[in-house]
């Protein structure tokens, strides 16, 4: 009759992990379903293909998890990524910088975009939605202006495309880009869970006023968090450009919603204060697997978005039911 006390930290920890594992169930269910539905689905090469497809949005989602946990939102990640790709092209092709320098500069440029967002949000005090919507339009425009509305190709650096495509496991076509995604996942999880940046992100998202009252310099940490997210945007931009061995000046609009959706599907609250990197990764994979599975099983394209929409609703609902019960 009496409930089990959870004072025991080990019990609590196990319970916590089980809960996170449970979020995986929707993902696994989808995987199993498509494995039966198509013989082409559960193959090494297709699974790697899914990971490749998840890489760019996934990296964006990782970075934006911090922003959302801190109670903000970043609509500029999609077009910001495009602009970072263009800047990679500018650095490498127009200015002829060496790859390492150009790539570093492009990633830092992403950080700069995030930094400006952070300033607008915390110093000017703009609502994050407006600040980053403005940035979304500005970066979309700048990408076109800077590139002269034409793709930039990496003629001088034919090796640049290896950054995404180089096979780390010879023979298996497991691309470096995916490996980078995995490494960044671990890094992001560590930063969110184990460092002061993560702690303040949760704290600000949970109660910004109280955090400020506790003597935390909220403005500075918000800028840090947006900048961090911007760095992930930079990496995503570089990898996207590498994958296409060209910097495409358009697109990106809509990616922000996809990334935010992945974060929210992963159980992070848009109210801020709650979330996890593990959830975000699972969320990204759910979207990627679903999209791929529907293509592999040749569901008519116009039906695909109907199915994706329904599955997202159901997956989040099931996840919430489980949390409630746990």
């Amino acid at each position: 009759m009496t409930s089990i006390p959870v004072n025991n930290p080990i019990v609590a920890r196990i319970r916590g992990s089980v809960q996170q594992l449970l979020a995986l169930v929707s993902l696994i269910a989808i995987l199993v379903f498509f494995s039966f539905a198509s013989p082409y689905f559960f193959t090494t090469s297709n699974l790697i293909g899914i990971l490749v497809a998840a890489t760019v949005t996934g990296i964006l989602a990782l970075g934006t998890t911090f922003v959302i946990v801190a109670g903000g939102i970043d609509l500029s990640i999609g077009t910001g990524m495009i602009l970072c790709g263009v800047m990679t092209g500018v650095f490498l092709t127009y200015w002829g910088w060496p790859v390492w320098l150009g790539v570093t500069a492009a990633i830092l440029f992403g950080g700069l975009i995030g930094f400006v967002n952070g300033l607008n949000v915390s110093v000017l005090g703009l609502p994050p939605f407006i600040a980053t919507l403005g940035m979304m339009l500005v970066t979309a425009g700048l990408a076109l202006v800077i590139s002269g509305t034409k793709p930039i190709y990496f003629k001088e650096h034919p090796d640049f495309q290896l950054l995404m495509n180089y096979s780390v496991i010879p023979g298996a076509r497991f691309p470096l880009g995916v490996a980078i995604f995995l490494v960044l996942t671990v890094v992001a999880a560590a930063v969110l869970g184990k460092t002061i940046v993560g702690r303040y992100a949760f704290s600000i998202g949970s109660n910004e006023a109280a955090t400020a009252l506790s003597g935390v310099n909220v403005a500075r940490w918000k800028i840090t968090i947006y900048t961090l997210s911007g760095l992930f945007v930079g990496v995503a931009g570089v990898l996207a450009a590498s994958r296409l061995s060209s910097a495409q000046p358009v697109g990106g609009q809509g990616l922000e919603l996809e990334a935010i959706a992945a974060v929210v599907i992963g159980g992070t609250s848009l109210q801020g204060g709650r979330g996890s990197i593990a959830g975000t990764v699972v969320g990204s994979l759910i979207v990627a697997v679903l999209t791929n599975g529907l293509r592999v099983t040749a569901v008519p394209q116009e039906w695909q978005s109907v199915v994706v929409g329904c599955v997202i609703i159901v997956a989040v609902y099931v996840d919430m039911l489980r949390r409630k019960r746990a």
Partner: protein, 306 residues
């Protein structure tokens, strides 16, 4: 449970030994133009008894999405791929991959800048746009101001349909001045945009719309401005609205490609390649100028879609 499926990976031959499988990856799928290409491809599929699938980027011009589609399709190992590249160079690594996997590629629509495709079934967009410019010049009496509404600022078709038109005017029509070029292929947005152009240029004589959406946007803009007949409109592609506008005289005429033919020829060429037959390096699917005088001509109606 999953291991059952894992036991039968897509080992080579793909579609197995029965029906050959041709996968088409286009630039888009939502617009009628692509639906017409798809119809042509499916018609050929039925005729030659091959399985045909047709997919395109959700947002036309989204290279990333298209590459994703191409990747998935290569993983399915079809017997041949039809590919309309949004950006050829961006697709180069996957073209190489297809070559390594020994999947023949047939390029369609605007061609793929690579030596992998065995043949290309396409329209010469530059020439087609120049043809539109020629008719525009004639209709406005070789002098005056005109403006362009281009459906896309960065895609190859957008750029070529703009540049082909602009270059023709520059070279041949010194008295014609292009005062503004703006971009949207969404009919509603194109309407508002064309209205603004007309507002800012009261002495405008003509507007060119570079695809169906842009062209009907221009038509509606002129209607809403109450300037029917005072402006010459030249369009591109077909669709019921555009055909009606031509019949009613609201639009001077338009260029049409042969989308059904593009789809048909692509699959036909793919089948030939699968069978080991030799195909021409290029297949010109042609373009046509149509206006009030020939819109009901059977040769034209055959290539129009409604």
């Amino acid at each position: 449970a999953c291991s059952d499926a894992a036991d039968k990976p897509g080992s080579g031959g793909g579609g197995g030994d029965k029906q050959p499988y041709v996968a088409l990856i286009s630039k888009g799928f939502q617009h009628q133009f692509w639906q017409a290409v798809k119809a042509g491809a499916e018609q050929a599929g039925k005729e030659f008894n091959v399985k045909v699938t047709f997919e395109g980027a959700k947002e036309e011009g989204n290279v990333e999405q298209q590459i994703q589609l191409l990747q998935t399709v290569i993983d399915k190992h079809p017997d041949a791929i039809g590919f309309a590249a949004i950006d050829s160079q961006a697709a180069a690594p996957l073209m190489t991959l297809a070559k390594n996997e020994k999947i023949p590629v047939v390029a369609f629509d605007s061609g793929v800048d690579s030596d992998v495709p065995v043949t290309t079934a396409s329209t010469d967009n530059l020439a087609a746009a120049a043809e539109a410019a020629k008719h525009m010049a004639e209709a406005i009496g070789h002098e005056g101001k005109i403006a362009l509404v281009i459906h896309d600022q960065t895609s190859v078709t957008g750029v070529q349909r703009r540049d082909g038109f602009v270059n023709y005017i520059k070279k041949n029509e010194p008295k014609i001045q292009i005062v503004d070029t703006q971009y949207s292929g969404d009919p509603l947005k194109a309407t508002d945009l064309a209205k603004a152009i007309i507002t800012a240029n009261p002495d405008l004589k003509g507007i060119y719309g570079s695809n169906e959406g842009a062209a009907i946007g221009v038509v509606h803009a002129v209607q809403e401005k109450g300037m029917n007949g005072k402006l010459t409109i030249v369009g591109f592609d077909s669709g019921k609205d555009q055909i009606d506008a031509i019949k009613s005289g609201a639009m001077a005429g338009a260029i049409t490609q042969n989308p059904v033919g593009i789809g048909y020829e692509t699959v036909k060429a793919a089948v030939a390649v699968i069978k080991g037959q030799k195909v021409e390096k290029t297949i010109d699917t042609g373009f046509y100028w149509y206006d009030k005088s020939n819109v009901d001509d059977p040769k034209i109606t055959a290539v129009l879609y409604q």
